[in-house]
């Protein structure tokens, strides 16, 4: 019983860490403009819309976070093997991983923006100076939380995978959850704030991203501030639920019927999310209504 209570406590902690990690990951990727919406940041100058948005998509979010979290976890693991205190080891490992992220962010911005020189897009040095450190700070939070939850899973809950491998797996899952949930909000709702609310961006508007703010030109810090409210929070809840429920069903129900208990609970949870998804879909159809009459729709 004591073991189960301990397991539930650790599970709750990992869920909370995952929620913060998901939120920070999405905000970092939006400030740095990494992920699918960056296609518009790259496209805009080619359509004649010069901008001051950061542009650091060197890879998709999942492989990028897989690398950074595996790096942070691997270094932390090495430091712990050198008998350094676990908390300090994780912090040091994550700091070094974030330095790599900073190098990637800088070279990606310079490389990608320089490739747009023929369209007249300048490389803004002040953008590098002001944005890179902010993306690095958010990346540190995301990587630190992910590596810490991996350490808890490995050390306290006894998962067989070594820390670096857990870092790789949960880093990729973090990037997948964060990009899947957060990308549409940044891509549609923020970059195309000049388009109608409640509709997708017409393909003919591609590249015409919003470039001006209340005063002066829009920068990526504004994007992070805006998207964090819904996109970042939703990404955090998404990754937090994934980590929490996956561990929770294992800790509480794995012993029942030689493992089948956790399977049945997992299937029940899938069914609950299926019902919730269907409810959201039907709610939207009823409350927002169709864009055109069914008989004339093409």
């Amino acid at each position: 019983m004591e073991q189960i209570v301990f397991g539930i406590g650790i599970t709750a902690l990992t869920g909370a860490l995952a929620t913060i990690a998901g939120s920070a990951e999405d905000t970092e990727s939006n400030i740095g403009s990494q992920g699918d919406p960056n296609s518009q940041v790259q496209l805009a100058p080619q359509m004649g819309f010069l901008h001051r948005i950061f542009n650091k998509a060197v890879a998709g979010e999942p492989p990028a976070y897989g690398l950074w979290c595996a790096l942070g976890a691997g270094l932390a693991w090495a430091f712990m093997a050198m008998q350094i205190n676990a908390v300090l080891a994780i912090v040091l490992g994550c700091v070094l991983a974030v330095l790599v992220q900073g190098v990637y962010a800088t070279t990606a911005y310079l490389g990608r923006t320089a490739s747009l020189a023929k369209f007249g897009q300048p490389v803004y040095i002040d953008v590098i100076k002001s944005m890179t450190s902010v993306t690095m700070a958010h990346a540190f939070i995301a990587i630190f939380c992910t590596v810490t939850l991996c350490h808890l899973i490995n050390g306290a809950l006894g998962h067989p995978f070594p820390l670096p491998l857990l870092g790789l797996i949960w880093g990729i899952a973090l990037g997948a959850a964060g990009s899947a949930t957060g990308n549409p909000y940044y891509g549609k709702e923020r970059q195309y704030q000049n388009q109608k609310f409640g509709a997708g961006v017409p393909i003919s508007a591609s590249g015409n991203i919003v470039r001006y703010a209340e005063a002066g030109e829009r920068n990526s810090l504004d994007n992070g501030f805006f998207t964090h409210k819904i996109g970042g929070s939703a990404s955090g809840i998404c990754f937090g639920l994934i980590v929490f429920l996956e561990i929770w069903r294992t800790i509480l129900f794995e012993e029942i019927s030689a493992g089948w208990g956790a399977i049945v609970v997992g299937i029940l949870m899938i069914l609950i999310f299926t019902v919730a998804d269907r409810y959201i879909e039907v709610w939207a159809r009823k409350n927002y209504g169709p864009y055109t009459e069914a008989k004339v729709a093409s």
Binding site: A177, T181, G187, V201, I242, G266
Partner: protein, 277 residues
């Protein structure tokens, strides 16, 4: 026809000669494995190949819209096919590896349920953001009616787009894809773990207890690598984006599973050679 609708369709053609060559290559690799390690090694390679095929087939179900989905211009999840499939499958592998002591069937199903659960949560949150964050209902661009619910789709597509969000059939596809990916990844891991546990002590000349961490880490990293190989192969097969099982591109799966079987067998053979030679 709009830019999104005008995606190349010629990629869907099957090439029987290439498929036969693929099957012959698979048989050659299996024969080589039988020659090098006839018992445990061959069984492991067959399990790895089945796992790889499950991953390749499962990836076809995952609804991925890529960059257009991020602007609400096309349905699906706004990220890459291989990345999302890997995220779900590896979350499943995490659960499956934890249940490895419970036996092959329980661990494989646990891995599958883990992948399915990850996709269920992600797909629901995607629709949550579309509906409550952006005020956009789900609409498919590939079918007039949702094959499961019968909901009409065309009138819910906003002007100038190919649809948006995740219709119910895409949600179900995502869960199935996550399940198959998680189960496949776990199967590969279990096969390699079994092989390494049995052979590494003799190869390294150390007691079995000492070899466990190495066996787990090596099997785990090979499982992750094989997962990415199969997910990326499938991403090429479906040329970037797919809505789910109702998408016409889904019919391309036969050639993908042949490719996945060959690639998995080859990679698995290398993983077996580590202890067989």
């Amino acid at each position: 026809m709009s830019a999104v609708a005008a995606k190349p369709q010629a990629g869907g053609a099957m090439n029987p000669t290439a498929m036969v060559i693929g099957i012959v290559m698979l048989l050659i690799i299996l024969a080589l494995c039988w020659y090098v390690s006839p018992g445990l090694g061959l069984m492991a390679l067959i399990g790895i190949t089945i796992g790889g095929v499950l991953i390749g087939f499962g990836t076809h179900f995952v609804p991925v819209g890529g960059a257009p989905a991020a602007m609400g211009q096309a349905p699906g999840i706004a990220t890459g096919v291989a990345m999302l499939a890997a995220g779900a499958g590896l979350a499943g592998l995490f659960g499956g590896a934890w249940a490895a002591e419970q036996g092959l069937v329980v661990a494989t199903v646990t891995g599958g349920v883990g992948g399915g659960l990850m996709m269920a949560i992600t797909c629901m949150m995607v629709n949550f953001v579309y509906v409550f964050g952006m005020g956009i209902p789900s609409a498919s661009g590939k079918v007039a009616k949702d094959p499961i619910t019968g909901d009409t789709q065309a009138e819910f597509k906003s002007q100038g787009t190919e649809g948006h969000g995740l219709p119910f059939v895409s949600f179900v596809g995502g869960v199935i894809g996550g399940f198959l990916g998680g189960a496949g990844g776990t199967l590969i891991y279990l096969q390699l773990l079994q092989l390494y546990e049995a052979t590494l002590p003799a190869v390294m000349g150390v007691p079995p207890a000492q070899v466990m961490p190495i066996a787990v880490a090596a099997a785990g990293i090979f499982a992750v690598g094989l997962f990415l190989v199969n997910a990326v192969l499938t991403a090429y097969n479906i040329t970037g984006t797919i809505e789910g099982p109702h998408d016409p591109k889904f019919k391309r799966w036969p050639r993908s599973i042949v490719a996945s079987a060959v690639a998995s067998a080859l990679c698995g053979f290398v993983a077996i050679l580590i202890v067989a030679l």
